[in-house]
């Protein structure tokens, strides 16, 4: 597990890479769901994202990675603060990208009573779980469709509220747990419950590249990486750094990016046209378009940005006919033609 395949060296998979970067730019977009064929590099891309994310400053020793610039949110050990409410000791860590392994048990995910402490000292102490470690970062679940339903429900609930409530073994703990949930899976092995689909901000479908040249390039780069990982990472370092900077700049400007009324109106019409339920779709579409604009370095959110992100922001929200083969993307494209070009 020494070297991770660099994000910048991933061939093709534009939509997937874009969705992940958008989610990093604006965590409020609310997670990415990646579904696709075997061996298309779903997990490679998600794991590679870690190398792109900027480091964050945290309160030293805080298991929840509390932000030193903000008042303590976790109510644990991180309250040594100066008069202005800033923490006195801080550390810089890389943005956590936490892997939730298949078969993880509930106690490890939400946290549980620290057994050793309880037995030796007779004190109740909370031992934080994966949800604590993922705070201010990413939580990645490979094969999300194989995860126990109760765990999926729990994770989506925490992801939406940003807070983990633990009520077990006489413990009553709440701690911040804001993370971007990334799930991936292979639909052949079972689909995610339709009710859960729209809890994800974006959804991307990855396919095996159909162009031979692209496929060959995938293999060549992978073979080169396998042969000498360090040298390969070095080759891509510059491009990696460029993407990293792009991400940082975009995160800084994204909240100030103006959204013209015309863009707002057009996206509302699109949502109505495809009959996506609820406000969530519209909000996500707007946020996603804004993140896309920020990544592009645009000075405002234009219709073209909405167009680009609409399939991934809305595709999984439409009233779905499971037997419709045309796929949701085609329906959205059609709707966009009608709404935008009329």
């Amino acid at each position: 597990m020494a070297d991770v395949y660099p994000f910048s060296a991933i061939v093709g998979q534009t939509a997937l890479k874009r969705a992940l970067m958008m989610a990093a730019v604006d965590p409020a977009i609310g997670g990415v769901l990646v579904f696709g064929d075997r061996g298309t590099g779903k997990s490679t891309a998600v794991r590679a994202l870690a190398g792109l994310l900027p480091p964050i400053r945290v309160v030293r020793g805080c298991p929840f990675h509390c932000d030193p610039q903000k008042p303590s949110a976790c109510g644990s050990d991180c309250e040594r603060r100066d008069a202005s409410g800033h923490a006195t000791y801080t550390d810089v860590i890389s943005t956590p990208v936490v892997d939730l392994p298949l078969g993880a048990t509930e106690d490890r995910v939400v946290g549980a009573l620290d057994l050793e402490h309880a037995l030796t000292r007779g004190e109740k102490r909370f031992e934080p779980g994966l949800l604590a470690r993922a705070n201010r970062g990413f939580l990645y679940i490979d094969e999300i469709n194989l995860l126990e339903d109760n765990l999926v429900d729990l994770l989506l609930d925490v992801a939406a509220s940003g807070e983990n409530l633990v009520e077990r073994e006489g413990l009553s703990v709440r701690h911040p747990s804001r993370f971007v949930l990334v799930g991936s899976g292979n639909p052949e092995e079972g689909e995610l419950r339709p009710q859960l689909l729209d809890r994800f901000g974006l959804s991307v479908e990855v396919r095996t590249p159909t162009v031979l040249a692209e496929r060959v390039e995938v293999i060549k780069r992978r073979a080169a990486f396998d042969h000498d990982p360090a040298a390969f990472v070095e080759t891509w370092a510059e491009e990696q750094a460029r993407l990293s900077r792009l991400l940082v700049t975009a995160s800084q400007v994204v909240s100030q990016l103006p959204v013209p009324d015309s863009t707002l109106e057009a996206s509302a019409r699109l949502c109505i046209a495809i009959g996506s339920d609820g406000l969530r779709g519209e909000l996500t579409l707007m946020r996603a378009a804004r993140a896309a604009a920020a990544l592009e370095g645009a000075d405002e959110v234009r219709l073209s940005h909405v167009r680009d992100v609409a399939p991934m922001a809305l595709g999984h929200r439409m009233r779905r006919d499971p037997l419709d083969e045309g796929g949701s993307t085609a329906r959205i494209e059609r709707a966009m033609l009608e709404v935008f070009d009329a």
């Binding site: 597990m1 048990t105 037995l119 126990e148 073994e169 092995e189 040249a213 293999i219 499971p322």
Partner: protein, 602 residues
Amino acid sequence: MTSAVAPDPEALWTDADLIAALLSVDPAGLGGVAVRSGFGAVRERWLGLLRARLPGHAPVVRIPIHVGEDRLLGGLDLTASLSQGRPVAQGGLLAACHGGVGVLAMAERLDVTASALIASTLDQGAVLAQRDGLTLREVTSFGLVALDEGADETERPPEGLMDRLAFHLDLSGLSHRDVAAANFTPEAVETARRIYPSVAKVDDDLIDAVCEAAALVGVSSARSCLLALRVARVHAALSGRLTATAEDASVAGRLVLAPRAKHAMAERAPQGQQTEPNEEASHEPQPPSSGETSETASPPDLDETAARDLAAEMIVAAVRAALPDAFKLVDPSGRASAASISRSRGGGAAVKSALRGRPLGSRPGRLKPGARLDLLDTLRAAAPWQKLRAAGEDAGRLRIRKDDFRIRRYVQRAELTTILVVDASGSTAFQRLAEAKGAVEPLLAQAYVARARVALIAFHHGEASLLLPPTRSLTRAKRLLADLPGGGGTPFASAIDLSLAVAVAEKSKQRTPMLVFLTDGRANIDRAGQPGRQAADRDALAAAKRVAQYGVRALFIDTSPRPQAGADRFAQAMRGSYASLPFVQSDRLADLVAREGRAVMS
């Protein structure tokens, strides 16, 4: 396997021998091998070869099929945890495989979760788990030998696992008489192991050639190409070369790509249709290399292109040579499959037990026989009270009371597989067939919501064929159904046999099958494939009785416009339910099936 052309046993054994040598050079790098073969001397001999060639210290760990997640990944060491008063981890089987191979028995019955766990361990070269109050992180790299005793092409280890294993070896056609001497000594393998790290990276032209060959034979997974490239390098090492040549790549093509191409073809062209089974591979090797590739490749000088094309041609030729000419998925008459019932497990429902299935946390409970104590949660429950309970007694002992007990709960994942058997014969008029198709659609939509599996069997033209093995991919089911042509005789008995074979296979995977027949029940082709109403009817009734014997739930939906007296005799023979389509609206049909489904599961 029931391929039409029996492979040459001598060549097959030579390849098997070669695979054992290649794999033992770098088990972890090549992922491993799926060995299709029944239990017996051939398989044991092959495993013996592999074992002898692995380094002396390399572990060979047997992984039983129903191994729990705790044993697979590792977990809490009970005695050590109790004696030390803190959670102590215990390594699992996958960690024990480190540096050697894991031998997974009956891999065709592995469930997807266990398969995903093994696959992610292979991918990451480490066991990573969060369970039992422990964070497990143990480096392990090994090759997997998946022993596959599947009875037919539909029964094989999970695709997610197959994709990661370089070799798919089929020994089922070999008898112990075919087993010849070994071509590689352990010393030769040892030498190859030593020089393998110095074998150069495969050059770009050869990579192009391998990818091209893979695309031509319809293998699309990127992993397959990478594995083929690795096999080429290992083969070079085994031949004492430091550079992989086109010849090495051809061997890799034959061993890695050909079995995948075969399977991909079977998937794409389900039998029972008159399509050319391997049209993609059957065209001449020359045109693709000269025509299509020159567009995609950048224009290199001519010599180089020619050399690469030659390599690609060699590989494609090697792959093609390894593919049988006429290739069929399942014996379309269903007779072979029906016969396989007796080979697979006996009848009756799968034994259910509260101790199996997936863990679902633990709850307070009583320690009655059969209950499994969740030690960790029990200790957690008891821990806060220790001070209080110790008052007045001697300290240093854990005090655990009845109400601390936490009992593990498991969910038996009762999954339903609906096996649709659609009569598309001439007796079912076209309009009725369309109605039957329409009736099935809401049913598929419902299966999607319930996340159930669906299999599709159709019978027409005197044949019953499995159009779609049990799957959750409903779009495929719909497409196949829509394209289903009608006409010909009604081999109802074969259809029942085939559906029962599928149902029994599903049972062995711990799923609950349910048969739904959409037919008018007017059989006119008997089991032997001969026309004749009486014999056909007799055979169909006999087949229907076997459904009852195996305890498989069945729903018989009569599609004839005017149901005749005694039309429900098949349903009775199957001890199933009967409904007549004219009186059942298609949306009500879905309700009907759902009700049956619930009845089955309860």
